[in-house]
Amino acid sequence: MKIGTGKKVMLGITVLMLVGFFAWSGGQSGGAAKGEYTFSFWTFQQFHIALLEDAADRWNKEYPDRRVTVESSSLPYADLHSKLLVALQSGVGAPDLVDIEISQFANFLKGTVQLADYSKYVDPVRDKFITARFDIYSKGGNVYGLPYHVGATVVYYNMNHLNAAGVRPQDIGYWTSDYVEAARKVKSATGKFMTTFESNDQWSFWPMISQQKSDYFNAAGDVILDNDINVKTLQFQYDMIYKDKLATLPPGGYHHTEEFYGFLNAGEIASLLMPMWYMGRFVDYCPDLSGKILVHPMPRWEPNGFRSAGMGGTGTAVTNQCDDLDVATEFVAYAKLSKEANIKIWEILGFDPPRWDVWDSPELKAENKYTNYFKNGTALFETLLEVKEEIMPVNVTELMPRASDLVKSMVVYRVLESREQSPYEALHEAAEELRK
């Protein structure tokens, strides 16, 4: 038959392809031998991988009959979260262990939670931690994520500018008075702005309202975005920029743009309000400021007010698609909850560990690239110890992702950059949208 050959060839190719499909997709290597556990781990911050790998080494020495291997992948930030979501939704394709960033975490607490509960490991040591850092990853009393750090927010002062103006950080007690006063002195002595407030991100606004015990939501989950404290705080930022002309907007709108690092490094501002985890940026991108920056608690808003806030964060979770939930949760707890683990968090990642009883241990006073960079030197953590009781938990609800995005892209932008709305108008509009 004339069509014979043609048909045969096409058929052959199709068969080959189908075979190829199934062969190539290959499976995972078959079930592990007893006592051998392999966990897949997704993160968006490749540096986190080092912490888990170190933990695996230590674990394997301590429990040689239950060896753990971690297979890590570093994916783009938005991509990791979207893939995870779809995987948990469809019941297939999720990793065993995963890092979930705080502003996305709420997405995974919707409906039936597909993550494992760590409570039995957390409860015994809860009082040695900044508990706020567990609350943000919890629902209904269960803890679904373990934190990497406190994210304690501090002020980074450029001592060159402050010295030129004759200002001492310890004298800056209150935002509305001392800080503004210091800003004036700095401006007249050096011509530089005191700081920048983000117009496209939330790290200037949120810590400030958090230290006043305010938030986007209250503990019951209601939207309080447009309350008086928040309005007043945003107004304060606006006034410092446009009325007093003592602050400005960062180039690019937030503190993680490529050009902001250049701006910062050139000493264009005398102080910066950011969490402790921003230390790495100074070390990596601001070589000219080495030895000039002092880390100090935030000023207060009222007498006995808090001087810090716990910002940002990533929780490591175990998904319910993991075959060995018990070992996995125990392993992650091992990597995050012990004293040893928390010391490692500082040594390997340079983060402020969430377990405060290690803050005065000798390892945290040892020299490393951070102590060599910041003026505080090896006394870096004493600053933190001062404020350990002054960190409010952040209230996380299912609307958190939307809320943060609205604050970042609408609220602070419209008030501080495009100036098309007053603080109340912007906050209220966003709050109303959330309330729908």
């Binding site: 069509i3 190539w24 890590s72 991108y285």
Partner: protein
């Protein structure tokens, strides 16, 4: 009174100047990238894209060396993946799409217009909107995180089909009849007689397809998940996080990611252009 020759000379100079200016403008970003790949990310942050950065005094090769060792040579995996997927997808897509296009262009059969309209339909409608269900299908076929998962939905690229159809439209029927009289099968005609004639089309489409697959971002982003399976584009993108980015690897990696495709193009430019020209997007 200007003679035709002077007029022509003037026109020529103006044209050259305009084109030259435009080309310089167009190639400037690439130049910046290349320079940046020889300098540290820290310098880039510090100086920005200013003349002092762009006209470097020293160039460092360190970053190129680091490319192969950083994170256990993950970059090499990305490169291999991009290469393999591009090669596979190009070959498979060109093969199948040319079959379809040939079928549409050469034969008159019932349903011909319907099929062609479907092709046009797919061409006009962004497949990205189907990403959610597509993803679920790929998962159920168990080809998630594999090369095939990336390639499968696009095997019959409507654009390539369209091109081959146009290309083969003009072929006179007697040519084929003569082959049939000689006892060649339909598929044989395609394979042994038409294919050589379609060589420029193959070349042109192959380069376009290779380029597209090499630079593809959105769909591989959805399908691939393990570190070692990522393609260059996604791997490079993973270096940018909200909590700090690895600029050194990114810039150097980006330059190396562009070189192969540029080489491919320059080497085959002749075939590529003649293919496009011959195909002529008539009507």
């Amino acid at each position: 009174m200007l003679t035709v020759r002077t007029k022509n000379a003037m026109l020529r100079s103006i044209t050259v100047v305009v084109l030259l200016l435009l080309v310089v403008l167009v190639l400037f970003p690439l130049y910046s990238l290349i320079v940046a790949s020889f300098r540290s990310g820290r310098e880039l942050m510090r100086l920005g894209l200013t003349p002092s950065f762009l006209i470097p005094e020293t160039l460092m090769l360190d970053f190129y060396k680091a490319l192969f060792t950083e994170r256990n040579g993950i970059y090499l995996h990305w490169f291999k993946n991009s290469f393999a997927i591009s090669a596979l997808q190009t070959i498979i897509t060109i093969f199948f799409a040319s079959l379809v296009g040939y079928g549409l262009g050469v034969y008159r059969f019932k349903g011909r217009n319907l099929v062609f309209s479907l092709v046009l339909f797919v061409l006009m409608i962004p497949i990205q909107i189907l990403v959610l269900p597509l993803f679920r299908i790929i998962i159920s076929f168990r080809i998630i995180d594999t090369y095939w998962g990336v390639i499968a939905p696009f095997i019959t690229s409507p654009f390539v089909v369209f091109f081959f159809r146009q290309y083969t439209l003009g072929i006179p029927g007697d040519y084929l009849d003569a082959a049939r009289v000689d006892g060649v099968s339909e598929f044989g005609i395609y394979l042994r007689i038409m294919s050589p004639l379609m060589a420029p089309a193959y070349a042109a489409m192959a380069i376009l397809q290779a380029r597209q697959t090499w630079n593809d971002f959105f769909w591989p982003l959805i399908v691939l998940r393990s570190d070692k399976k990522l393609t260059l584009q996604i791997g490079l993108a993973s270096l940018l996080t909200p909590y700090g980015s690895n600029y050194d690897l990114l810039l150097t990696g980006a330059v190396l990611a562009t070189i192969p495709i540029i080489i491919l193009f320059i080497a085959f430019q002749r075939y590529f252009v003649s293919g496009i020209l011959a195909g002529g997007l008539k009507g």
